[in-house]
Amino acid sequence: MNRIVNQPRGPTTQGRTFSEEVIAQTPGDDPRLSMCLQCGTCGGSCPSGADMDYSPRELFAMIDADMRGEVLSSNTPWYCVSCYYCMVRCPQDIHITDIMYTLKRMAIQEGFSQESNAKDAPDFSETFIDFVENYGRSFELGLATLYHLRHHPMNAMRMATGMGFDLFRRGRMNLLPTRIDNIDQLQAILAEAKAIGGNGDANL
């Protein structure tokens, strides 16, 4: 039976509903998640919408129904390309893209991020930020190498000899990462930021 049963207020912080939690972890004045009319403008505007498990609109309905597991294990937030079409067109001014980022963070923190067909995506972001945290700058060659070797080894070979090589030939690829001078300062800031963030619940 697929019937959805109302969840009791579970082990969420401070007895908040799933919806309230998502709002609390989204930056800005008020992401207006509760104002959704279910009009479908977001799903209709989304460049990757046709390939999402659920459109943003459906996801909001599911959040309202406390379907935490289904929401956080969908590929929807990972397929968001941050084009912001949904956000500028939403007639209720809902901060959809910002909410997608919140769902990505929650999916990782609660261990759902490997469930969908976008399970490589979190690792791409994590590999990216590893370089940023070590050097203060992103490092494309390192990122592409690690990511593709880990997830799409055949792709890695293809790209290395194709596009990767073309970019390198034209001087558009650094072989070594660049490090900023005050990397210590940046690392101190990030360490403090992680401690404050309290493992993801910014409680804004």
């Binding site: 930056p27 800005g28 004045d29 460049p47 990757s48 390939d51 397929y79 390309v81 941050s82 084009c83 912001y84 079409y85 956000m87 500028v88 893209t97 980022y101 990505k104 963070r105 990782i108 976008a118 490589d120 995506a121 979190p122 791409f124 972001s125 994590e126 990216f128 930020i129 940023v132 203060g136 700058r137 992103s138 494309e140 990511y147 194709g162 596009m163 073309d166 970019l167 034209r170 001087g171 558009r172 690829m173 650094n174 900023i180 001078d181 005050n182 300062q185 940046l186 101190a188 800031i189 990030l190 403090e192 930021a193 992680k194 404050i196 963030g197 993801g200 910014a202 409680n203 804004l204």
Partner: protein, 321 residues
């Protein structure tokens, strides 16, 4: 002479070095000087914010704090890359809106001896300052070799025009500032309705099929309307349309060979700089055949079709930017 704090971003270091180099070359003609933010760090692109909220905002916050200290020209900070631009602008905007976020981020910055008051820095995109602060008239005066006969499709991408914080620069759906700029340097601007559609961003790494669909849509629309070259304002867009054009051709059985150049490269060519100086050749899809279309005299405008007696009138257009 207008001075701006300058945030190049990681891409302009190497992958999009031509964007930086061509900008520096044309800066004098535009009466602009740039002071790079000292020891800036990566803005986090669309990656950091995916993992952890406060560190992501603190990462950008460090750049804003450094720029504020530098205090150039009433604290205007210019970013040529649309993603960097949006991260800087969005961070400043949400810090101003949310006192709790501001408190937490500044607590993190304090661990590095820094502080940032939201609103201290005015973040702008490079195209924005060329269109508004420099102005089209000044650009026109700098033109020595108008790009007559070159058909340009002006490509904005997403993040320069969306989301529309605080009355955004240019229209979120059908912007026109780059169109006017390209016309100002003598190029023929083709109709390009996909001009603000998404290039896919990092989807090339997550789902190549989705990304190729979007890139194909853009290339096809430009080529359908007869463009010789696509003018870009963001390194991600340039990379996706340029480096993946081959993959699109293979996947869709198309035969696109349309080069993607930064708008600053086109400005430079129009200001009289040579192709080598403008970094022509760094693009994967060679721009030289397209640039050979440039004429020394303006082409005769095509004969306008006589409207039939039955045709119904169109409403007047709203003002362009």
């Amino acid at each position: 002479m207008q001075t701006y704090s300058y945030y190049p971003g990681c891409a302009l270091e190497r992958n999009a070095a031509v964007y930086h180099d061509s900008l520096m070359a044309v800066a004098e003609s535009l009466d602009l000087t740039f002071t790079e933010v000292e020891d800036w760090n990566c803005c986090g692109a669309t990656e950091y914010i995916t993992i952890d909220l406060i560190p992501a905002y603190a990462l950008v916050g460090r750049n804003l704090a450094l720029a504020a200290e530098q205090n150039c020209n009433g604290r205007s900070l210019v970013a040529p890359c649309s993603a960097c631009f949006l991260n800087l602008k969005k961070t400043d905007h949400y810090l101003a809106q949310s006192p709790e976020l501001n408190r937490q981020v500044n607590q993190a910055l304090a661990a590095g001896g820094l502080h940032y008051d939201p609103g201290s820095v005015h973040v702008k995109h490079l195209l924005e300052i060329v269109a508004e602060d420099v102005g089209f008239e000044k650009v026109a005066r700098a033109v020595k070799r108008p790009l007559y006969g070159l058909k340009v499709a002006p490509y904005y991408g997403c993040l320069i025009v969306r989301p529309a914080f605080d009355g955004t620069f240019d229209d979120a759906e059908q912007p026109s500032s780059l169109d006017v700029l390209m016309r100002t340097i003598g190029a023929e601007v083709v109709d390009f309705p996909a001009k603000a559609q998404c290039c896919g961003g990092h989807m090339t790494q997550i789902s190549e099929e989705v990304a190729l669909h979007l890139i194909h849509q853009l290339l096809k629309n430009a080529v359908d309307h007869g463009a010789d070259v696509i003018a870009a304002i963001c390194p991600m867009c340039q990379l996706n349309l340029d480096a993946y054009q081959d993959a699109v051709n293979k996947h869709y059985g198309t035969d696109f060979h349309i080069p993607i150049l930064y708008f600053t490269q086109l400005l430079g060519l129009a200001f009289g700089f040579g192709e080598a100086t403008m970094g022509i050749g760094q693009e994967l899809v060679d721009a030289r055949p397209a640039l050979a279309n440039i004429q020394s005299k303006p082409l005769k405008p095509p004969r306008r079709k006589r409207p039939s007696k039955k045709e119904l009138p169109m409403p007047p257009k709203l003002q362009e930017v």
